[in-house]
Each structure stands twice: as structure tokens, then as C-alpha cells.
Subunit: 258 residues, 2 copies
């Protein structure tokens, strides 16, 4: 949009520049959503549909974030949205389907949109840093979606549950792959790429799971992304020069007993 220096992702790696280059934003997301679920939604007039979808799903995130999706009744949702029970059912096929729509839209529309952005160019370290930033930025933009899918996937149908685990494994594997490329290129050093990748993913997820904590101590999106990238650099630096049982208590680094 604007032609200032915030619009040149991925050269300028900050949240603002990412937002400018992402072809969807918090405001336009429900237009995409409506399009994705046209055949499930009885309402055909787009203007009203998009407005009410935003009301319904924003309220769902709000209610589900305290008490969980199961504890939220459709009467609660009706009251929060100001839309009657019958009205709600013009937008969803069932309560279960409501949760599934969130899951499917995030995993099939939102996430692919971002993760295909400029991940192929640059050194392994650049690509890994870019990937981490994208995860964090996406988590900031669509935090309620990510939170919901993480917390509620266990309440969903078999297929969605399995898919959620699969995505976790795939994300871990992608991080691991880049790490191993960096190791092969001599740019990184890592004794256990699998666990390192898992740790990075856990820190990505903590960003949207514990947003209350990061809000409380005033950690911004860029703060966290920068922290995570510098953490990554420390984890993957050449550490043979100054470690190995510094001041006491055994310091194993490989596999061990039990």
C-alpha cells in the first residue's frame, strides 16, 4: 500500500513490513472466509454475511478463550452476538462444524498464504530466521485462530485431530530440514536438530498461547520475533569453544540412560 520502507518484505524483517506484503489482513479475512464456505453458509448476500461472520467468529474466539469451546453454548453465542439461535444456523451447519470451519480455514487458507512467502531464497540461516518471523507475525495477526485450533483440536472429529498432529510434525520437520542444511553448509552447528526444531516450534506456539503474559510485560511482536531469532542464533552457533562442564554438575549433551 504505502510506499515507505515498511513495504519491502523480506528485506526489511519487521512486523509492519510483513503486514504490508501479506495479501490478507485482520479486516479482510472474513471476505475470504465467506468465499471459502459459500456452500455451507445459507446467507447469500455478501455484505450482511461478512459482517455477521465477523461478529459470530470473533465472539466464538472470545467465549472459547474463557471456558473452552465445549463450555460455550450456542445460547451464549446468541446472546454475545445479538443474533438469534435460528439466525446462527444460517451461518453454520452445526456447532461441531463451527469449530471445523475455524480449523480448516486456518490450515487450508490462512497458513499456506503466509508460509509460501519467500522461503526459498537466501542462506539457511536467512531462511530459518524468515520462517520463524513469519510464524510469529502470523501468530500475532491471527492469534485467536491459532489459539483456538491448538486448544480445541482435541474436541474435533478424528480427521481434524490427526491433521493437527500432522501439521505439528510437518512444521517441526521443515524447521529441522533448514537446520540440517545450515549444518551441512557449515553455517550452523547442532547436536540434535530434531529437538532443536521442536524447541523452536514450542516457542512459536508459546507466543500465541501465552499472549496474556507477553501483553502484561509489554513484549511486542517485534520484540518476541527478534528474541526468537537471536535465540536461534545462539542455539546454532559453534559452541565447542566454551562449554563442557563449566562449574559443576554433569553436562551431558547426547543421548543417555533411561
Amino acid at each position: 500500500m504505502r510506499n515507505d520502507n515498511t513495504a519491502n518484505w523480506p528485506q526489511e524483517q519487521c512486523f509492519a513490513s510483513f503486514k504490508h506484503c501479506l495479501p490478507v489482513c485482520r479486516e479482510s479475512v472474513y471476505s475470504e472466509f465467506f468465499e471459502a464456505f459459500r456452500e455451507d453458509i445459507k446467507v447469500k448476500r455478501e455484505s450482511a454475511a461478512v459482517k455477521n461472520l465477523k461478529i459470530i467468529f470473533d465472539a466464538t474466539f472470545e467465549l472459547a478463550s474463557k471456558g473452552g469451546f465445549d463450555a460455550m453454548s450456542l445460547r451464549d453465542l446468541s446472546q454475545s452476538t445479538g443474533i438469534s439461535m435460528g439466525g446462527l444456523y444460517n451461518y453454520i451447519r452445526s456447532k461441531d462444524m463451527l469449530a471445523q470451519m475455524v480449523n480448516d480455514f486456518l490450515s487450508q487458507r490462512l497458513a499456506p498464504l503466509a508460509y509460501s512467502l519467500n522461503l526459498e531464497s537466501g542462506s539457511p540461516r536467512q531462511r530459518l530466521a524468515t520462517r520463524l518471523r513469519i510464524y510469529i507475525y502470523m501468530g500475532s495477526l491471527f492469534r485467536p485462530w491459532y489459539r483456538f485450533v491448538y486448544m480445541e483440536s482435541k474436541s474435533m472429529a478424528r480427521q481434524q485431530r490427526d491433521q493437527a498432529k500432522q501439521f505439528d510434525l510437518v512444521d517441526t520437520a521443515k524447521l529441522k530440514e533448514v537446520i540440517e542444511e545450515g549444518v551441512a553448509a557449515g553455517e550452523m552447528h547442532c547436536a540434535n536438530s530434531e529437538l532443536t526444531a521442536s524447541a523452536l516450534l514450542a516457542l512459536i506456539q508459546d507466543w500465541y498461547l501465552k499472549s496474556w503474559k507477553y501483553k502484561q510485560n509489554e513484549t511486542s511482536t517485534d520484540d518476541y520475533a527478534n528474541f526468537l531469532v537471536s535465540l536461534m542464533d545462539k542455539l546454532l552457533a559453534d559452541n565447542d569453544q566454551h562449554t563442557h562442564d563449566q562449574t559443576g554438575y554433569n553436562d551431558h549433551s547426547g543421548k543417555n540412560n533411561q
Copy 2:
């Protein structure tokens, strides 16, 4: 118990030695539990009570881990345990109280038991490593308890919900405190102790939240604890010698815009 070299925690920092020194184990935990909730439990004969408490709570963990606590009905629980509805109510006051018992027992009995073990002696690095190991070992021993409290605290009463957040903040603060002692002693280096502490806590929680993943790639308790301690060492090492924008893309380390 046994007099071999696994019984000298915290000098020998492994899971086996920790288990030997902890005054409670997976098998004896429900005796403690019965004692803690004597006045809430109608059944007075200890032998039967302990046996059935184990059956009931183990089944609760199993059922709640798939579908969540809200989705588990007491009829499901009755069927899984082989104990009738009336029978269950000789052990719990209500379904809500069942969840609260798990929360209270973990936070008031189990956790304090371990976290008071030898945390005061040694250098900051030793104490931090020991603390991390304790968290991981406890997470391994009482994984279902930790998982349950993490996932279900949002469904509990106001007091329990607030308490869960409070414990998260307290745990973060304790880690942060030790880090800052290490920094003050010149033993550690850290630009943001708050975020570093948060990250360590997130990795502790990932251990019991994603146990399915770590089981799948055959990561043992000691593997993970060793990995976490070595990660800690890397994060807190003196990193002024080889970082700062290695090969491209800006590498901010402090606070930033937006």
C-alpha cells in the same frame, strides 16, 4: 531405597537418581491423595479408597486427554472405571470438584514437594540447571496431572484459573531471578532475562504437553533434560564474540518498533 549410585541426588543429575530421592512415586501418590482429601471423600476404608481413587483419576486423565474434561461425562467415567454413578459420588463432591482436586493436589502437594529439593546450594548455573531438571522429571513422573491442569484450568472456578496464571508468573519469576543472579555473578550473560525465563518455562511445558511427539521420536526424559540444560547454557553464554548480523537480514536484539 537401593544403595547404588543412582540414589544421590542432586550430585548425580539423572531421572533415576531423582526418583529415588523423591518421597513419593507414581504408586504411592494416591495414598497421599486420600489423606489430602479425607474430608471430601465419603469412603473411609483406606485400602478400597486408594484403589478406587487410582482407578477414577487415571481414567479421568485418560478420558480428558482425548476430547477434554468438559466432553467427558460422568457416565463415560462410570463405564471406564466400572464404578456406578452413585459409587463415583462417594469419592467426589461434584464433577467440578473432581477437576479442582487434581489442580489443588498438584499445586499444593506434589509440586511443592519437589521444588523445595536442594534448590538453594551451588552456583546460579547449578541451581538453574537443577531447577530445570526438577521440572522435567516431575513432568515425566506426573505428566497426566500437569497436562490436565494446563489444559483444563480454564474450565475451573475463578480462583483456580487465576491461580494457574499466578503459578506461571511465579515460575517465570523464579527462573528469571536465578538468571539475574548468574548475570550479577558474571557467570551468565543475558540481554532479556524475562523472555529467557519465559522461553525456558515454555520448553518445560512442551515436554508434558507434547509427550506424544517425544515418545514418537524416542526422546527419553534424560535426553530432554540434558537437551534443555545445554540449551540453557547456550542461551546464557557470553555471545559478544561471534554474532551480530552474520550473513544478512537485520538482527536486532533489544526492544524495537511497533
